[in-house]
């Protein structure tokens, strides 16, 4: 007995095939069928979701514009020490490629790209290219410095060298309000240009606040729903779900109607004499508006997971706790509440993750102070067309969410997550 167990650590079938292998073979068909069932969706997600996201994320480091428009200049600058101004070769390459790029109409893109890093570069580049296109001849060093004195400055050339890199980390630095100074060191942006760290912090803070508000408002509702007879609770559940069936835009607009300076709530307050007509409360187009509207819109995402967990808790647990001598509060706190933790966790992580990337509501009711990071990402996607920075900010946001998810799985455990 003892000798066989030592030798036969692997259990074999009668033919001598290891049992595990045999099991794999016999279940192979089932696994292939299961895989085939998900293949269409998998392909769909791959093509329409994963690949675009990957491409987008790649944009945060991909930096082709300047490298493609001014390849010779970038090559010439490779040997430049970074001190003073580069030699004639770089000036010559720049002048030649500026003329060429102007003819090809690619100079604008490069100018815009350079301008993201150092403001004023756009006008410098376009005006220089315009002057050069009149057929001016070298030596280019003196010529360019004559056209614009900034060509004699080290930081102009340092910017071209930096942005000329095919792959770059400048967007990530920018996401954290950092940049390379003229000497190539990573330093903080000038104070007036520091925004993203603050916006990230604001986004996290708003998300946390909305999550806590949703929990405080949603938990009692979920408890009520789970304890009422199903006839009544089904009706109330429809009320909870009603927002899901209404357009997000309609709901947000409704909040505008309610909260604006001459809206329903302010009118009521004035009518009731609680505030004067001249001191109406600003409740929308600021942070308050964002928080109120987001809490309302995300509430069902908190109520539903908590409700579904509460529904599974047997009422006999509370009865047992009472019969064992615990007063109702103690029974609730020690017996009921701990069993709802998976629902709280699921609801909170759901609300938090949705709110961290929330866009439309802050855009509509956030005004100037209620904007979140996604509004800035959208701004860089649509207005400033700095896709690289948008991609970097998006990547940082994604990393934040994944980090939180990981933390949650470490602290609470993903198996405890219950989404209904």
């Amino acid at each position: 007995m003892t000798s066989t167990t030592a030798n036969d650590a692997i259990i074999r079938t009668a033919e001598g095939v290891p049992l595990k292998l045999k099991l794999l073979r016999t279940t192979r068909r089932n696994r292939i069928v299961a895989f085939c069932l998900v293949v269409p969706l998998l392909l769909f997600i791959l093509v329409t979701f994963l690949v675009p996201i990957a491409v987008m994320l790649l944009r945060s480091v991909d930096n082709p514009i300047v490298a493609e428009t001014l390849p010779q200049t970038v090559a010439a600058l490779e040997h430049w020490s970074g001190q003073g101004v580069p030699d004639e070769a770089a000036f010559a390459a720049l002048a030649e490629e500026f003329t060429l790029a102007r003819e090809n109409r690619t100079i604008g893109r490069a100018a815009t790209r350079l301008n993201f890093e150092l403001s004023g570069m756009r006008s410098l580049v376009t005006s220089t290219a315009r002057t050069l296109s009149r057929g001016e001849q070298g030596p280019y060093k003196e010529l360019l410095i004559e056209i614009d004195g900034r060509w004699g400055e080290q930081k102009t050339w340092a910017t071209i060298k930096l942005i000329g890199q095919r792959y770059t980390t400048v967007q990530y630095l920018a996401s954290f309000d950092l940049h390379y100074d003229a000497a190539g060191r990573i330093v903080a942006q000038p104070e007036v240009r520091q925004i993203y760290v603050q916006i990230f912090m604001r986004t996290l803070w708003v998300s946390l606040l909305v999550t806590v508000l949703c929990l405080l408002l949603g938990y009692p509702v979920a408890y009520l729903l789970s304890t009422l007879p199903s006839r009544i609770s089904n009706m109330l559940m429809i009320l909870v779900l009603l927002p899901f069936w209404t357009s997000l835009l309609v709901r947000t607009t409704a909040w505008i109607v309610l909260l604006q300076t001459h809206g329903v709530i302010n009118d009521l307050l004035v009518w009731a004499g609680l505030i004067g007509d001249e001191s109406r409360v600003q409740m929308i187009y600021n942070m308050t508006g964002t928080i109120v509207a987001m809490t309302h819109i995300l509430l069902p995402f908190m109520v539903l997971p908590i409700y579904s967990v509460m529904k599974t808790i047997s009422p006999s647990h509370m009865r047992a706790a009472l019969s064992l001598g615990a007063n109702p509060l103690v029974a609730f706190w020690r017996v009921y509440a701990p069993q709802t933790v998976p629902g709280i966790g699921a609801g909170s992580i759901l609300v938090f993750i949705i709110s961290i990337g929330y866009y439309i509501t802050p855009a509509l009711v956030g005004g100037r102070t209620g904007q979140l990071i996604s509004n800035f990402i959208a701004f860089h996607m649509q207005k400033s067309l700095n896709w690289g920075l948008a991609a970097a900010l998006g990547t940082v946001l994604l990393a934040c969410v994944l980090l939180l998810y990981w933390l949650y799985s470490r602290v609470v455990g993903l198996d405890k997550l219950k989404l209904g």
Binding site: S314, A320, A321, L322, S323, G325, P328, Q339
Partner: protein, 363 residues
């Protein structure tokens, strides 16, 4: 009946309605003696669980009074009643270990830690689960979970323990084993137990007294053997144990006995237990094991011709379905003792029974 001053629980004219239209419990009077094991036995919807919930304090009474240890408890909330309760689905707290479950009633009573540990240890020993204290309830088998639930209801030493079909979820063998364990725990601790079940054999095994409930009314309350031997009405006779039923009309009454004309033909001498008088309808109740096959001449007054329709071999006894007095479903239990009568399907036999085994009850 126990002496009134010895009663721990008294239901005084208790009534209960949930919807304001039908009474689930109708003017219930019940005395439960100290140290007694009383079972409320009845079909589902008979009001037995409602009685238990009212006693535990989870359902208010609509009318009447419940008195525990001399004090009316109608307005005492459940957590102050000091009554242990075992639930059908165990109701162990799934997020606590076995030990934490057992310590819970002691912790909420603010007992010192050392005392809690000692009581928990003893409780675990009592239900023979020593060494499983650090397990979670989900890691235990059904029987083990049930033992923990019993231990938890007893660990704070309540005077009264309520059990609501605690063995309903267990398989047959385990259920029987747990019945003995509960019985022994009751005997050892001397605690008063009120037990609810719809399983008559469980009630017979465990109880000192059984109250048979139907339609919110106690039909009969008696010791197990009296309940089985002397059912007072047709419902009790049918609900407790197996029972042959013969419908008929009373033709004459003589003292404790009566003569009954059976609908299917034949005249039976029976014990008059609950009849309306001569001419009234009655239901004769007859236990299958009290019927004799081919009795000796003159041994019993009731002898009829029958035909064996079906035989089922059950090991310790043989069930014979016999056609008697136009009744197709007349069951006879023949003990599988040495020298028992050999029967075959289709045999013509005589069946007979004594007067005192045949009880004339309300139709």
């Amino acid at each position: 009946m126990p002496e009134p001053n010895d009663s721990l629980v008294r239901f005084n004219e208790v009534e209960k309605t949930y919807d304001g239209e039908t009474l689930v419990v109708k003017s219930l009077n019940l005395d439960i003696a100290r140290g007694e094991f009383l079972t409320l036995l009845g079909p589902s919807g008979s009001g037995k669980t409602t009685c238990l919930l009212m006693l535990a304090g989870f359902e208010p009474t609509t009318h009447g009074e419940i008195i525990l240890d001399g004090e009316p408890i109608n307005n005492v909330p459940p957590h102050k009643r000091n009554i242990g309760m075992v639930f059908q689905n165990y109701a162990l707290f799934p997020h606590m270990t076995v030990e934490e479950n057992l310590a819970f009633p002691l912790e909420v009573r603010r007992l010192p830690k050392t005392q809690i540990a000692e009581k928990v240890r003893r409780a675990l020993d009592m239900v023979r689960l020593r060494g499983l204290g650090s397990r979670m309830p989900s890691q235990l088998s059904g029987g083990q979970q049930q033992r923990v639930a019993v231990a938890r209801a007893l660990v704070f030493e309540p005077k009264l323990v309520l059990m609501d079909e605690p063995l309903g979820a267990l398989d047959k063998q385990l259920r029987e084993q747990m019945q003995y364990e509960i019985k022994h725990i009751h005997e050892d601790l001397g605690v008063t137990v009120v037990y609810v079940t719809h399983d008559q054999s469980e009630a017979l095994t465990l109880s000192n007294r059984i109250a048979v409930l139907n339609d919110g009314v106690i039909q009969q309350i008696d010791t197990p053997n009296k309940l089985y031997e002397n059912p007072e009405n047709a419902f009790v006779a049918q609900f407790v144990g197996e029972n042959n039923r013969l419908l008929g009309k009373v033709t004459s009454i003589n003292g404790t006995g009566c003569s009954v004309e059976i609908d299917g033909g034949g005249k039976v001498e029976a014990l008059a237990v609950k009849i309306d008088g001569v001419g009234g309808r009655t239901l004769l109740s007859l236990r299958p094991e009290r019927v004799r096959i081919n009795p000796t001449e003159g041994q019993v007054p009731n002898v009829f011709d029958g035909r064996v329709e079906e035989l089922i071999y059950l090991g310790d006894h043989i069930r014979a379905r016999v056609k008697v007095c136009g009744q197709d479903h007349f069951i006879v239990k023949i003990p599988n003792a040495s020298g028992h009568s050999e029967l075959h399907k289709g045999d013509q036999v005589k069946v007979g029974w004594a007067v005192e085994d045949c009880r004339a009850l309300d139709a």
